[in-house]
C-alpha cells in the first residue's frame, strides 16, 4: 500500500498527464512538422507527426507569395497599436476618475461601464456596422478600431491598480500645487506600469486574434488583417490541397504572439487571469 501510494500512483499520473499534454499539443506539433515538410512527401502521409528528414522553407515562401502577408502584418499592427494607444489614454483617465475622484452618479456610471463586459462588441456587429458606415469609416482601419477605443476591462484594471497605490505621493504633489494631469502622468502612471502592461498584453492579444468585426468592416484586400487573410487562405487551400502551405500560413499568423508568450510567460499568465472580465 505504502509503495503503491508513493511510487505507482504518481508514475501513472505523470504518464496520463504526459499523454493528455501530447494530445493537447498535437495540432501545433503537426503545424510545425507539416510547414517544414517538402511537397514531394505526398499528401497520403500529410498527417504524420514525424518530422521529415529534409526540412524545407518552401511552404513559407509559397505562403508569403500567395497571400499578401506583408500587407496583413502592417494592417494588423496598425489596428493593434492604434487601439492600444487610444485605450491607454481613455482607460487611464477613467480609471483615475473612478479610483480617486468623487462626483455624483459615480457608482451608476461605473455600472454603465460594466455593461460593455456583457454587451461585448461582437454581439453588436449589426448596428455598429451601420454606425461605422454613417461615420464614413467603412472599409478603413479606424473603422475596425473605433468600437474598442473605450474599454470597460481596461478601466477596471486601472481603477484597481490606482486604488492599490499609496496616496502619500499624490497628496504631496497636490499640496505642492501639481495639477491633476501632472499627478496622473508623473506620479500615478509610473507606479501603475504593471497594470498597464497587463492590460496591453490582453488588448494586443485580443485584437491580433480578432476576426468577425474586421471581416464585416473591411472590403478591399489592401485593408485586410492577418486573420482575414488566413481565413481566405484556408478556404483556398481546401481545393488546392496545399496543406504544408496552409500550415506555414497558420504558423505565420500565430508566431508573433507565440514568441512573445514564450519570452514573457509569467506576465502573460498573470495578465490573462485579470482578463477574465473581458470574456
Amino acid at each position: 500500500m505504502g509503495k503503491l501510494e508513493k511510487h505507482v500512483w504518481p508514475a501513472i499520473g505523470v504518464a496520463l498527464l504526459s499523454a493528455i499534454a501530447f494530445l493537447w499539443a498535437s495540432p501545433f506539433l503537426w503545424t510545425l512538422v507539416a510547414s517544414f515538410r517538402p511537397d514531394s512527401a505526398g499528401s497520403a502521409d500529410m498527417a504524420s507527426l514525424l518530422p521529415d528528414l529534409h526540412p524545407t522553407l518552401e511552404n513559407f515562401r509559397s505562403a508569403l507569395e500567395s497571400g499578401s502577408f506583408g500587407v496583413y502584418y502592417v494592417n494588423t499592427l496598425i489596428v493593434v497599436l492604434g487601439v492600444l494607444a487610444v485605450q491607454c489614454v481613455t482607460v487611464s483617465l477613467a480609471g483615475y476618475a473612478f479610483a480617486r475622484l468623487r462626483f455624483p452618479g459615480r457608482d451608476l456610471l461605473f455600472y454603465a461601464f460594466l455593461l460593455q463586459l456583457m454587451l461585448v462588441p461582437p454581439a453588436l456587429i449589426v448596428p455598429n456596422l451601420r454606425t461605422v458606415v454613417d461615420l464614413g469609416l467603412y472599409d478603413t482601419l479606424p473603422g475596425v478600431m473605433a468600437p474598442y477605443f473605450a474599454s470597460a476591462f481596461g478601466t477596471f484594471l486601472m481603477r484597481q491598480t490606482f486604488r492599490a497605490l499609496p496616496r502619500d505621493f499624490e497628496e504631496a504633489a497636490a499640496i505642492d500645487g501639481a495639477p491633476w494631469w501632472a499627478i496622473i502622468w508623473y506620479v500615478l502612471l509610473p507606479m501603475a506600469k504593471p497594470g498597464l502592461i497587463a492590460f496591453a498584453i490582453v488588448s494586443v492579444t485580443t485584437h491580433w486574434n480578432e476576426f468577425l468585426w474586421p471581416l464585416m468592416v473591411i472590403s478591399s484586400p489592401a485593408n485586410q488583417t492577418l486573420t482575414i487573410g488566413l481565413a481566405a487562405f484556408t478556404l483556398g487551400a481546401e481545393s488546392g490541397k496545399e496543406w504544408g502551405v496552409l500550415a506555414a500560413g497558420t504558423l505565420l499568423v500565430m508566431a508573433p504572439l507565440a514568441v512573445a508568450f514564450i519570452a514573457f510567460q509569467r506576465r502573460f499568465v498573470d495578465s490573462f487571469v485579470f482578463s477574465g472580465v473581458k470574456g
Binding site: 499534454a21 493537447w24 455593461l115 456583457m118 473605450a150 496616496r167 486574434n209 485579470f274
Partner: protein, 311 residues
C-alpha cells in the same frame, strides 16, 4: 478606509484648484468623457438603434424607404426554422462546451498547481491554444477533421478505427465544433482555477486529511465548495464567450451541414452580411442582447468580484 482617504485628496485638490467641490465634479465627468463618448457610440446607442430598426423592414439596395412593420421582424425570426435551430444549437453548444471545459480546467489546475518544471511545461501546453486566433485554430482543425487523410482519421486509421465525417455529417458536426472549442478554452479557464486554488484554506484541506478523507472526498467536500465563486465566475464569462464568438463556424462549416452548426451570432452575421435582411438581423441581435443581459444581471456580483481580480 478608501472613502476617508479619497476625501482628503479631494480636499487638497479641491481647495487648490477650484475652491469648491463642484469644479471637481466637472473634472470627474471630463475624465470619463472620452470613454463615455465611445461607449455611447458603440455600446449604448447601438442597442437603442437596433431596437428601433428591428421594427422596420429595410429593403436592401433598392433605395426604398424603410417600412414600419411593428413586431413583424420578430415574428419572422422566431418562426424561421434556421433561427430556432441556431438557438437550440447554441444551447447544446454552450452546455456541451461548458461541462467538459470546467472539468478539464479544474483537472489541469489541480495537476499543475505544484511548482515544478513538469508543471510549467504542462501549464504552457494547456494554455497555449487560448492564445492563438480562433481562426487559426479553425484552420488547424480544418485539416485535423479532413476525411481520410486528416490528422484525426490518419491516426484513428492506424488504430483500425474508421472515423465519421467529422464536419460533413450533420449529427457529428456540432460535436466536432464543440471539441475544438473545448481544446481552445480549457487552458484559459485553468488559469482562474489555479488562482482560485491558492485561496482554498490549507488548514481545511489538512484537517480533512487528518480526519481520513481520501483525495476524492477532499476534492468533493473541501476544495470544490471553496472554489464555488471561481466556478460561478468562469461559467458567466464562458457563457458570454460561447454566445459571441463564431469565427470557427465561419471558417469550418458556414453553419452547415443543413444548419447543424448554425449558432445565434452566425445567424445574425448571415442575415446581415450574406442575406442583407437587416430587419431580421436587428431583431435577432436584440434577442441575443436580451439573453446576454439576462445572463449578466443574474450574476452582476460575480462579474464585479472578477473585475476586482480576486474572483
Amino acid at each position: 478606509m478608501s472613502v476617508a482617504s479619497t476625501s482628503s485628496v479631494d480636499l487638497a485638490l479641491g481647495e487648490r484648484r477650484a475652491g469648491r467641490p463642484r469644479r471637481l465634479h466637472l473634472l470627474g465627468f471630463a475624465l470619463l468623457a472620452p470613454s463615455l463618448l465611445f461607449l455611447a457610440l458603440f455600446t449604448y446607442l447601438p442597442v437603442v438603434r437596433v431596437a428601433i430598426e428591428s421594427l422596420y423592414d429595410t429593403p436592401h439596395g433598392t433605395g426604398a424607404a424603410a417600412a414600419f412593420v411593428g413586431l413583424g421582424n420578430y415574428a419572422k425570426v422566431l418562426s424561421d426554422p434556421a433561427f430556432r435551430q441556431a438557438a437550440l444549437n447554441n444551447l447544446v453548444y454552450a452546455v456541451g462546451v461548458l461541462a467538459p471545459t470546467l472539468v478539464l480546467a479544474l483537472g489541469f489546475a489541480l495537476a499543475v498547481q505544484r511548482s515544478s518544471r513538469f508543471s510549467t511545461v504542462l501549464r504552457t501546453v494547456f494554455f497555449f491554444p487560448s492564445l492563438v486566433p480562433l481562426v487559426a485554430a479553425a484552420s488547424l482543425f480544418f485539416f485535423i477533421f479532413l476525411p481520410g487523410v486528416g490528422l484525426l482519421d490518419y491516426y484513428l486509421g492506424k488504430l483500425g478505427i474508421r472515423g465519421p465525417n467529422w464536419l460533413g455529417d450533420s449529427d457529428i458536426a456540432l460535436w466536432s465544433v464543440i471539441g475544438l472549442t473545448v481544446w481552445k478554452n480549457a487552458g484559459y479557464y485553468m488559469l482562474f482555477y489555479i488562482a482560485g486554488l491558492q485561496n482554498v484554506p490549507r488548514d481545511a484541506v489538512e484537517a480533512a486529511m487528518i480526519d481520513g478523507a481520501n483525495a476524492w472526498q477532499r476534492l468533493r467536500f473541501v476544495i470544490l465548495p471553496a472554489l464555488a465563486p471561481t466556478t460561478a465566475f468562469v461559467t458567466v464569462i464562458a457563457l458570454i464567450q460561447l454566445l459571441t464568438s463564431v469565427d470557427h463556424v465561419i471558417v469550418l462549416t458556414r453553419g452547415g451541414p443543413s444548419n447543424a452548426t448554425n449558432l445565434l451570432l452566425y445567424y445574425i452575421f448571415q442575415s446581415a452580411h450574406e442575406n442583407f435582411d437587416y430587419g431580421k438581423a436587428a431583431a435577432a441581435t436584440l434577442i441575443s442582447v436580451a439573453i446576454l443581459l439576462a445572463i449578466s444581471f443574474g450574476s452582476l456580483r460575480v462579474m464585479e468580484r472578477g473585475a476586482r481580480g480576486d474572483g
